[in-house]
Symmetry: C2
Subunit: 493 residues, 2 copies
């Protein structure tokens, strides 16, 4: 057997164990009763030790050496590249550092769950300091291995090929027009009247509505399902994608659009190249591209006029005891595009969201590169919130720098993916419209042409192309944030 084939077999084996991890992880979030947690954690830890040992087997180095001398097709060259990337990711850090960061992160995250509510920055920062320092150490080691600067080496985990220099440029541009755009839109919207959602919305009807919209979005129910969890997510495996939502009886709109968002993630997973299944090259290209699909569904399709029209019909049919005026397309549209300056990223609207991300990017970049200290974060947060959204978080930690889970366990480098996703989504839509009559498909309620374009250009590519190659082949250019600006101006002005 060739070294290349041995590597493929080995990564298939790893994937088999990852399958079990994905299903048991979904189960823990969506099904498991509380008393099962201890035994489950033990089993999952055992599995992760085993997977790590598979990923770090000494013989892999020899196989990679030999495989690099094999004459491979273009596709197999990409397959080898992605296996090697995965292998390097698992082998670059000393086990001691991984363990120390995992322990410090778990401790910090666990305490944060109560400290946040108490606005306890002092307590939090004591646990957070080692997380930051260990992350800096991690970034340094990754930087040496990749030749990138420390923060870029962290970014590389989630967004291979993206660097902070170009991100800084892009985000600086956004900062030059976003705050004034937000102000203009808020002033415009303040003159509009709308009907707020009131009353209760039966959970079983919300679920029926969610399933109906998933059908419209051609979610493949032979290869996935919808359930509930406290924190909605898209999990499982490409052959069996598990998405979740959370129902609030007082409100149906958030869960519904949450389902649209997760269905975007799910269809990407369901559309990944099955012929490469079990290999890293078959996986999603990056977190930003993954988010581009969920945001394509949520923002590009989900908030389009014809889609809102479908939602209006479906909701009117389900919630027969409510005032139908609430579900009028124009009203739903207003509710789904209302802009508000507020503290919390996860509750932010499409327009203010990038401000939340840019703020975090700038802080974590300078933190990981050692230009600022963890102690400086609250003050910087306040200054940037004032500058970008005109809000002060002085002394307000829980609505400021303590609001997100990401930093508590050291996931630095992840935040940019959210806004990269929004930008890619807008760019994909602009490109798609060159060849697909998107509005006609949406109006007809048969979205097949839209999904064919996404499948051909994004989903079926897995990780065979780099992000830049993928985006250029799909849209004719690499990331161009002007599409995002144009999209926002068109929708909100």
């Amino acid at each position: 057997m060739s070294a290349f084939q041995s590597l493929k077999d080995h990564f298939q084996k790893i994937d088999n164990f990852n399958h079990l991890s994905a299903i048991c992880g979904w189960d823990a979030a969506a099904m498991m009763p509380s008393g099962g947690n201890e035994a489950r954690s033990r089993a999952m830890a055992e599995l992760s030790v085993h997977v790590h040992s598979l990923k770090t087997e000494p013989q892999l180095e020899e196989w990679f050496g030999k495989a690099s001398e094999q004459s491979l097709s273009t596709q197999d060259t990409a397959v080898l590249r992605e296996m090697k990337r995965s292998w390097l990711m698992s082998n670059v850090l000393p086990a001691k550092l991984v363990e120390a960061k995992s322990l410090a992160g778990s401790k910090c995250e666990h305490a944060w769950r109560t400290q946040r509510g108490n606005d306890d920055w002092q307590g939090f920062s004591k646990n957070w300091q080692p997380v930051v320092e260990l992350s800096q150490e991690e970034a340094q080691i990754r930087a040496e291995a990749t030749g990138l600067n420390p923060y870029d080496a962290m970014l590389d985990i989630f967004e291979p090929g993206t660097n902070s220099e170009s991100l800084t440029q892009i985000f600086d541009d956004v900062k030059s027009w976003l705050p004034s755009l937000i102000d203009t839109v808020i002033t415009k919207q303040s003159a509009e009247s709308l009907i707020e959602s009131t009353g209760t919305f039966d959970t079983s009807k919300q679920k029926a509505l969610g399933l109906e919209v998933m059908k419209l979005l051609q979610f493949d129910f032979k290869h996935g399902r919808l359930d509930e969890s406290v924190h909605p997510f898209c999990g499982g495996v490409p052959e069996d994608v598990r998405i979740t939502t959370r129902y609030d009886e007082k409100e149906f709109m958030q869960s519904l659009m949450g389902i649209v968002h997760e269905t975007g993630h799910a269809r990407y997973e369901q559309g990944l190249p099955a012929t490469l299944s079990g290999n890293p090259s078959s996986e999603a290209r990056s977190m930003g591209i993954h988010e581009s699909q969920s945001l394509f569904f949520e923002m590009q399709l989900g908030r389009s006029a014809p889609f809102i029209g479908h939602l209006s019909q479906m909701a009117t049919k389900q919630f027969t005891s409510h005032d139908p005026a609430l579900f009028e397309p124009s009203n739903l549209n207003k509710l789904y595009t209302r802009v508000k300056k507020d503290f919390i990223r996860v509750d932010a609207d499409e327009l203010t969201y990038p401000a939340h991300v840019i703020l975090r990017f700038e802080i974590e970049r300078d933190l990981i590169n050692g230009k600022i200290s963890y102690k400086d974060v609250p003050e910087l947060w306040d200054a940037k919130m004032q500058s970008y959204l005109g809000l002060s978080t002085a002394g307000n930690y829980k609505n400021g720098c303590m609001q997100d889970i990401h930093w508590t366990d050291g996931a630095f480098g992840y935040f940019p993916s959210y806004t990269l996703g929004a930008m890619y989504a807008a760019q994909f839509m602009a490109a798609m419209k060159q060849s697909v009559d998107v509005d006609r498909a949406l109006n007809a309620g048969d979205l097949t042409p839209i999904f064919t374009w996404l499948s051909d250009n994004i989903w079926s590519k897995g990780s065979l192309l780099t992000t830049d190659e993928l985006v250029k082949q799909a849209t004719g250019e690499i990331l161009n944030p002007s599409h995002f600006k144009r999209h926002l101006e068109t929708r909100y002005l």
Copy 2:
């Protein structure tokens, strides 16, 4: 670290992987969409190869050798004995035979799913012959390793300590009184009138009813849950027991009593000794003892007058649009104790069930011991059905020897557990009544004294005692089938 401790750690590791297998197995039956099957099968096969390699690690032999020289407490001696039993079970068969039997069994079982419907004995027997032969080979190897005769060595997998000589004696005794008892009861019941269940029973109401009865039976919902599957079962792990049922909108009684049955299995699992969790000594003693708990719940508690009274109240409350006369205790009791001679074991009532088991025991015993050929089975089946239940299965394979899944993949030695379970259940009830006012607890709707007895005498013992020790400590004597006979006569005459 002592060899004994090394063994315990190793078996804990195996148990961690078994946890993943149990949860993903439950998921495959209760949650997984059909398109997930291929990837899941691959992942489960990978896991089972890994678990097998852990169970057969060469260093275990040395550890068992050294541990046998350690001075151990009584409990640790039992812990060692059970680890060794588990190890021997995994190591006694050559890998080639395991693989061959697994392949032949899968092929036979898969084809059986269509052959049965077509009454295709010719087609079936072609696939079944190798399964029988490989099972005979397996039994021979197990016999040599254990010093038992071939069939007893198969029995030992499910019922350690039980042998076919004593089973033959016990079952011969049952055969001496059961057929005439059945006839007497059927004649008696033919004079009684009863109201049949009609109309539809909403699935969500059936589920609510099931959950209510599980509460009465003190199922621990912090450590388990109820779901649906085509074939009801009790799965998961002791810390998180997953039971399933199947709802039929035309009929509520079968699913309801099915839930009572699975709750019996579940409470045994939930009550196993947590301090030994992860070790074979903490597992259920045998299939027969497991079945004794489900049948204790289903037959001893579930069909008692006060329990039927509770079911009557609950059902009347749920199914408000049905004729309440259907749910009258006396009517429910008649419906739940109706005796009928019929072909199918899984649909059989309490009284005729042993006849189905004895027939299978006698045939599989002689088959595995090489006294009869697989070709003789249909004729023997017909003769025994005529003798025990007065029914002929000549030329009727699907309702005869092709009805069960067990033999299709070579699970010979399992059938006796069902009737052993029924006998143990009756014996446990007789013993319990010596010290517990069972009727009072049932009437009061607080079954705590009953469960305390079961927990103290059965559940908390895990596999620390042999079956005979367990039964003797609990009831003062080893298996005594006269309790079962008395129970049947009291209930049915």
